[in-house]
Amino acid sequence: MVHALRETHRVLKTDGLLLDLRPGPVHRRIGIEVDGQYEQLAIMGEQLLDDYAANRAVAEVIQEGLFKPVSRTQFNCNRTMALRDFASWLADFADDRAAPQERLLQTITRAYKSRSKRKKIVVKGPLVLKVLRKVES
């Protein structure tokens, strides 16, 4: 990660900006929206170690004097999907022992099927946008 950030420093022009956009280190909340009404059903409990490692990498290149922080913005980012897509999306976390997939899938499936109106699964979580400016070394 640090090497990638150093590479970024190399290709940026003087005063160029590095934008680090990614999910914040917060467990995702999963619920169902029916006719615009959201009901939270579960919290994922996924591992956040990679997020912390990325934060450390960014801090390291700032410490090295390659970049200086300009701003940090946090905002909500939803993902909406039908039940058939939820299982595929969840499979991305298959190696994550902290997020018990089967129970989560059962909970959401049961709740989804019990709603008869227009419905969708909504995964909520914050995105963080960090802006850094290149410092000439």
């Binding site: 190399r10 290709v11 934008l19 956009l21 946008l129």
Partner: protein, 99 residues
């Protein structure tokens, strides 16, 4: 698979507030299927070079690229660890959900 990411477009709103994008040369790292790349193009950027290590995702991104943006956006398989671009060549580098 149909998953809508950020239907409220909060992401685009946050990016728009960062800088004047018009005429800027941008490198996007981790472009995936090009979802965010197309949003970045709508901000008035001059050129976007977008890379991702996945051959399949780059193929999808190229397939989804509207003809009118073909001269503005270039998709390429590549890794953030070894950027095959000249030094001092981009105004903005965006890490898209990859760090």
């Amino acid at each position: 698979m149909t998953i809508r990411v950020d239907p409220e477009r909060n992401e685009l709103r946050a990016l728009r507030g960062v800088d004047a994008w018009r005429g800027k040369k941008v490198l996007e790292i981790g472009c995936g299927d090009g979802r965010l790349t197309l949003r970045l193009a709508s901000l008035g950027t001059a050129v976007i070079h977008a890379i991702d290590p996945s051959v399949d995702l780059i193929r999808t991104a190229r397939k989804n690229l509207p003809t009118k943006l073909a001269k503005k956006i270039r998709y390429k398989v590549g890794s953030a660890e070894e950027l095959k671009y000249r030094s001092n060549s981009y105004d903005i580098v965006v890490f898209s959900w990859v760090l």
